[in-house]
């Protein structure tokens, strides 16, 4: 089977790319191991809702929906959004087709699947950043009496044994899961490392509305001071709910959750926690205040002072006086550990040497160093919003333009090589910076 471009993954990122390829009449196929929006269907807990409001799902070519713009989609609604989008743009998705390898060939790539081999001149990796839950190595030495679960397998508190729960990680997943487990009557201890604290709403508007307006989400990868750090940030402590509540550490403390430092060791059946909790909270509070400063500046510059509530600051994170530095996991107090310690991508099927020593794709704003190969939908790939549904459109447009230039240039090179037998170097136009 031959095509010009193979897109691997039919989530929002792969579909946005499909739409842009179709606009340029570039022949392509979207390969999907399961159904459209597979991870959203199979790897999310029951109560999860999108962290971004409904208006913030501006996928290219998506017809306007009928949803409440300021609401937050449940998982079935999110699956529905993406599935309807695939239909609306008539994406050429081949479902139940698992890619088993991608190799370089003379003219491009051979993409092997469990349903045959595709040959194409370019490949777009849109399998996402959250394929395999990260679990610390010390998990292997846990007492057997402790049950462990990762967020992709976690569904609801009722699936857990009665008794105490240690949730490790205070990102969006960790804080939401800690909150609902605590409310189920199980005593939760939350292990907190570096985290990103933001309020759900500020000055009467959703934080995403502010970040969108102030251009925070449009910040480009080549404009930030420390890209490595920006790409490694955990997800912000946000939850989508009808009452638009803020779910920060203060809210969790009020709900009865016990905070401890980052889990750093396991010794003699005891979990050991870092004494750095005050500093990680100080870092998060200062970072939140810098964001709010920026929002206030934007509000002043943009004449939003009158239409929004007055500026204010939130209470600093309240610290427990002496958080425990260890916890005996054999005492029976902790029956379950939830590893909300992030995810890593799985490129085990990618037989092209483009991974760095940590198994991440080396890329420049989504342009992978192997010619004709692109990646989509990973954190801060081209912009701060790259991992959001709302960020896929701008990234797909940019990368599709690059892909089209690559196809033109390589066709031109092939033609001139055939006619003159000389080798013209393939040169590509630099991507135009589309600063907001």
């Amino acid at each position: 089977m031959r095509t010009t471009a193979v897109v691997i993954g039919a989530g929002h990122a792969g579909l946005a790319m499909s739409r842009c390829l179709a606009e340029r009449s570039i022949d392509h196929v979207v390969l999907e191991r399961g159904e459209v929006a597979n991870s959203w269907r199979t790897e999310r807990w029951d109560s999860l809702r999108l962290l971004t409001p409904n208006w913030q799902s501006r996928l290219p070519g998506r017809p306007p929906g009928e949803e409440e713009p300021d609401g937050f989609r449940t998982m079935p609604e999110t699956v529905d959004l993406i599935a309807r989008y695939a239909e609306a743009i008539s994406a050429p998705v081949q479902i139940h087709t698992a890619v088993t390898s991608v190799r370089r060939t003379g003219q491009g790539y051979a993409v092997s699947t469990d349903r045959g081999v595709w040959r194409s001149r370019s490949v777009v990796l849109a399998t996402g950043a959250c394929n395999v839950p990260r679990v610390p190595a010390l998990a292997a030495a846990l007492p057997r009496s402790v049950v462990t679960v990762t967020p992709d397998r976690y569904r609801n508190p009722e699936q857990l044994p009665e008794g105490g729960v240690l949730v490790v990680g205070a990102s969006a997943s960790g804080t939401q899961i800690a909150d609902e487990i605590q409310r189920s009557g199980r005593a939760v201890t939350l292990s907190v490392g570096e985290h990103v604290r933001v309020p759900r709403a500020y000055r009467g508007r959703d934080i995403q509305w502010w970040m969108d307006g102030a251009g925070v989400l449009d910040e480009r990868y080549d404009q930030v001071d420390n890209l490595e750090r920006a790409r490694g940030l955990p997800s912000a402590q946000l939850t989508g709910s009808d009452d638009r509540r803020t779910l920060d550490l203060n809210a969790l403390t009020a709900a009865g959750v016990r905070l401890v430092g980052r889990l750093v060791g396991l010794s003699g059946g005891k979990a050991q926690f870092s004494g750095s909790l005050p500093n990680v909270c100080a870092l998060a509070d200062l970072k939140m205040d810098r964001l709010l400063d920026r929002i206030d500046e934007y509000a002043a510059e943009s004449g939003l002072e009158d239409s929004t509530h007055p500026r204010h600051r939130f209470e600093p994170t309240a610290l427990p006086t002496a958080p425990p530095l260890d916890l005996d996991l054999r005492s029976g107090e902790i029956r379950t550990i939830v590893w909300a310690t992030g995810y890593r991508p799985d490129y085990s099927w990618l037989d092209v040497p483009v991974l760095d020593r940590k198994g991440r794709v080396r890329h420049d704003g989504g342009v992978v160093e192997a010619p004709g190969m692109y990646v989509m939908g990973i954190p801060f790939m081209r912009r701060r919003k790259s991992s959001l549904i709302d960020g896929a459109g701008d990234d797909a447009r940019d990368l599709c333009a690059h892909l089209a230039s690559y196809l033109d240039a390589s066709s031109e090179a092939a033609r001139s090589a055939a006619s003159t037998r000389s080798r013209s170097p393939v040169s590509l136009p630099r991507l135009q910076g589309s600063a907001r």
Binding site: G265, S267, S276, L283, L286, R357
Partner: protein, 186 residues
Amino acid sequence: MKTTTKAVDNGVNVQALLDAREALSEAPEATKFTWRATCTWVNGTHSQSTIDGFFGLGQEQRHRTEFTLEADHPEVFASEDHGATPVEIVLCGLASCLTAGVASVAQLREIQLHSVTAKLEAGMDIQGILGMDGDVRNGFDGIRVTYDIDADATPDEIRAVVAQSQKRSAVFDILTNPTNVTVQVN
């Protein structure tokens, strides 16, 4: 926004550190350092440590000169007080590490420092070291560090420098996180 009339200079060559980080990303083996100290018993609780060589950047390195450090215990412990107690030296290590970080981070962020003073306090219940109560730990029950910093920056910018310094501090890490310690006898 502050207007800078003259270049910020905290005496830290940040460019050299940034260049080193860049160069080391190409040569990960050169990032492995080994630090050493030699301690000799003098008499009673008095000992003298010398610090001279270390390993790093792929080879043996030396300080410009050998340093010595006296340690002892005060007279209330029936000792002769020839030097700081080891736990006080630990506090100095933390303070110096954090303060070096404050200077470096401030330099990187173009914040001119005028004065930096850290005061440290650590509580300890000596029932632990005296073996009176097995439930009391030997070490500190906590360390409190208080900085007084005069710099050309807002209070939040100064707090952010101090927070970042903790985040990048080796001694802060050593004190807040467990470390395997192996003691052998030849």
